[in-house]
């Protein structure tokens, strides 16, 4: 069996790799949590790429219901068709719309199914999927058929912690919390995203970045994806490593900080601290 250990453009820490491989081997869903911007959703894309499997994504919103992932019965269209005398109306199958789970169960090749941001949905949403995720089958009441997975899909679920998930649901999942990468891991992540980037620039940028993250009182601390965006900007503008540092110079705010700080109050706080540091 193929083992997942990150890809050319994704660094998976050993604990993440173990969790992914175990979830694949035991055919159970993997629940991934972590700070925003640490690559939870990206993980599904990379696992699909590494396993060479088709990827089916189901982005959950506050209005999404569990049944939509299975199928939807379009009663309104059928009613309209019946009034217009459409011949298709006789077969109820014409009005069943397949959901993402059905799609995943039907795939002849083992797919990767991403259920993104499960915490956005109603509090009952995970409970409604218990049996489906456990047995990987469900029943279509309208036609009386049972849809069963041909191959059990690899299921990845992400959550941003907006709601607590029910115990019964958690018991069926593997769980992994992506912790914020330390400097070495971050270095590796940057290396795969920007091969050939100047070492000095990375060094200075990382120092600035971690200093910024350590600043007390920040409302939204910048994360991996913001760092990558920032580096991209720095590269595009061809900014010299010295400018990024600015330890003692007059302006202490790193260039293009808009990529890192997304909150007005954070920017103010930062400017104030920079001002104090300059005086002192």
């Amino acid at each position: 069996m193929m083992k997942f250990s990150g890809t050319a453009s994704y660094i998976a820490t050993p604990d993440l790799a173990v969790a992914v491989n175990a979830a694949i081997a035991l055919e159970r869903p993997l629940l991934v949590k972590g700070e925003p911007g640490t690559g939870k959703t990206e993980l599904a894309f990379q696992v699909a790429a590494a396993l060479d499997a088709p990827l089916i994504t189901w982005h959950v919103k506050s209005t999404t219901r569990a049944a939509q992932g299975l199928y939807e019965y379009d009663a309104v269209t059928r009613l309209r068709d019946s009034q217009l005398g459409d011949p298709r109306v006789g077969d109820v199958k014409n009005y069943i719309r397949r959901g993402k789970l059905w799609e995943a169960f039907d795939s002849p090749k083992r797919p990767v199914l991403l259920i993104d941001e499960i915490d956005k949905a109603d509090i009952e949403f995970p409970n409604d999927l218990l049996l489906e995720l456990d047995r990987m089958e469900f029943f279509v009441y309208e036609t009386g058929e049972t849809v069963k997975a041909q191959v059990r899909p690899v299921i990845l679920i992400t959550s941003n912690n907006e709601k607590e998930l029910p115990d019964a649901f958690l018991r069926r999942c593997f769980f992994h919390y992506i912790k914020f990468p330390d400097r070495q891991t971050m270095q590796a992540i940057i290396d795969v995203h920007f091969p050939g980037i100047k070492k000095t620039l990375v060094n200075e940028a990382l120092t600035s970045f971690y200093n910024l993250r350590d600043m007390p009182g920040l409302k939204k601390r910048p994360s991996t994806s913001e760092l990558l965006d920032w580096l991209k900007l720095l590269l595009v503008d061809d900014i010299a490593p010295d400018t990024v540092r600015e330890h003692d110079a007059k302006k202490l705010i790193p260039p293009l900080y808009g990529a890192l700080l997304k909150n007005e109050q954070d920017v103010h706080l930062f400017e104030r601290l920079a001002f104090l540091a300059r005086r002192g």
Binding site: V18, A22, L79, D167, R171, F175, Y177
Partner: protein, 390 residues
């Protein structure tokens, strides 16, 4: 051995069930992981822990149960204890620590470490690994350096100075530590009650189908959108002993503001008396009589007090006990009036729970609110919201 591990986890109040234990056994049977204690740690963690708040507990239990396992399995050459001790002393003495701090550099420290590591490598070419453990090596010791220095980075997986679980990186995710706004919001959401009122704008599909079937033609039915119908009245203690908690209170306040559509707040000092106020700068002139508050807000509003309840007992029990002015009636009388009116009420206390027992006034307030005092931690907030949601 694994059963013992399982029992230890249960004893530490980690919610693990038999099902998860069996899954772990299954995974071991199928050789999902290599025979390596680190991989076993990762595997069992991802199977047995389902909430990042429990990660720290898990690390502690794992460290206790499997103590010495790594050294038994991994070490090929024995390294004398004294040698380790000597090394750690040589590594960084107290003086050196001070020196490094004086040099003001984490970078500097890293550099020193790097140099020492290189020395270290030179000396031990015989295939033995050098190890360190908590307490003997200054690196990775969470007391001195909360992040933990990953000494083993350049030597690959086995060279770690500190065992992965001993690093306890998830320490601040434990639910007994104070929290950020986002976590508060999550906890506050327990209070949500969905209700439908307002304009009918959403298609009611079941209703439409039912009515259409009844009437024989397409009959669209609409229902109002549902939204959070909880109403909260927040009374905040300001000034004096509350000053150290101001950040935490701000966080709770801002989280509550965005979470509840119906939220109103007033300030008081130490204990509510006959007047409350909304603006701390005009607290002497611009006050609202507490009786008006009682009359304005109906009984279905939920009342949350936020204060440390640390004051002189007289401020609660005696008329004229207030620190700022002469109060005709005792604080307890006003508290009772508020509590009689609002049947759903809790007192949130930002002071650590272990300090409560030393203050008489906290006891008095706890009695007044009939035990509904909760610490301002994630767990406490959770309990408070359950209480209010009843």
């Amino acid at each position: 051995m694994f059963l013992q591990f399982f029992e230890a986890l249960r004893a530490a109040k980690l919610p693990v069930s038999l099902k998860e234990y069996l899954a772990l056994m299954d995974a071991m049977d199928r050789h999902v992981i290599a025979e390596d204690v680190n991989e076993f740690y990762y595997l069992s963690r991802s199977l047995l822990v389902k909430d990042e708040r429990n990660l720290d507990k898990f690390d502690r239990v794992f460290g206790e149960v499997f103590k010495g396992l790594e050294s038994a399995a991994d070490l090929k050459t024995e390294i004398p204890e004294d040698w380790l001790k000597a090394l750690s002393e040589r590594f960084l003495t107290e003086e050196e620590k001070k020196q490094i701090e004086a040099l003001g550099g984490w970078e500097k420290l890293m550099e020193t470490l790097r140099k020492r590591l290189e020395e270290q490598k030179g000396r031990h070419e015989g295939g033995s690994k050098w190890i360190g453990s908590r307490g003997t090596s200054p690196f990775g010791n969470s007391g001195y350096n909360p992040e933990g220095v990953r000494i083993g980075q350049r030597e690959g997986r086995h060279g770690r100075a500190v065992k992965v679980w001993d690093r306890r990186e998830y320490k601040n995710l434990d639910d007994t530590v104070e929290l950020g706004t986002r976590n508060i919001k999550v906890a506050l959401r327990r209070l949500r009650q969905w209700a439908r009122d307002g304009a009918a704008t959403e298609l009611d599909l079941p209703g439409t189908i039912r009515d259409t079937a009844d009437k024989g033609y397409l009959d669209l039915r609409l229902v109002p959108e549902r939204h959070n119908a909880v109403k909260v009245l927040l009374l905040l203690d300001v000034g004096g002993s509350m000053d150290p908690h101001i950040r935490l209170c701000e966080e709770l306040f801002s989280a509550a503001r965005s979470e509840f559509k119906h939220l109103d707040f007033f300030y008081f000092h130490n204990c509510p008396y006959e007047a409350l106020w909304k603006d701390n700068r005009r607290r002497q002139t611009d006050t609202v009589p507490t009786l008006d508050v009682l009359h304005k807000y109906p009984r279905d509003w939920k009342l949350i007090f936020l204060g440390d309840a640390m004051m002189s007992p007289y401020e609660i029990s005696m008329p004229g006990g207030a620190v700022e002015y002469w109060n005709e009636e005792a604080g307890a009388v006003w508290m009772q009036r508020l509590l009689d009116h609002f049947s759903h009420a809790v007192w949130l206390n930002p002071a650590p729970e272990k300090h409560w027992a030393y203050t008489v006034s906290v006891d008095l307030i706890t009695q007044l609110v009939a035990g509904r005092m909760f610490p301002l931690t994630l767990a406490g907030l959770d309990g408070a919201m359950r209480e209010l949601g009843r």
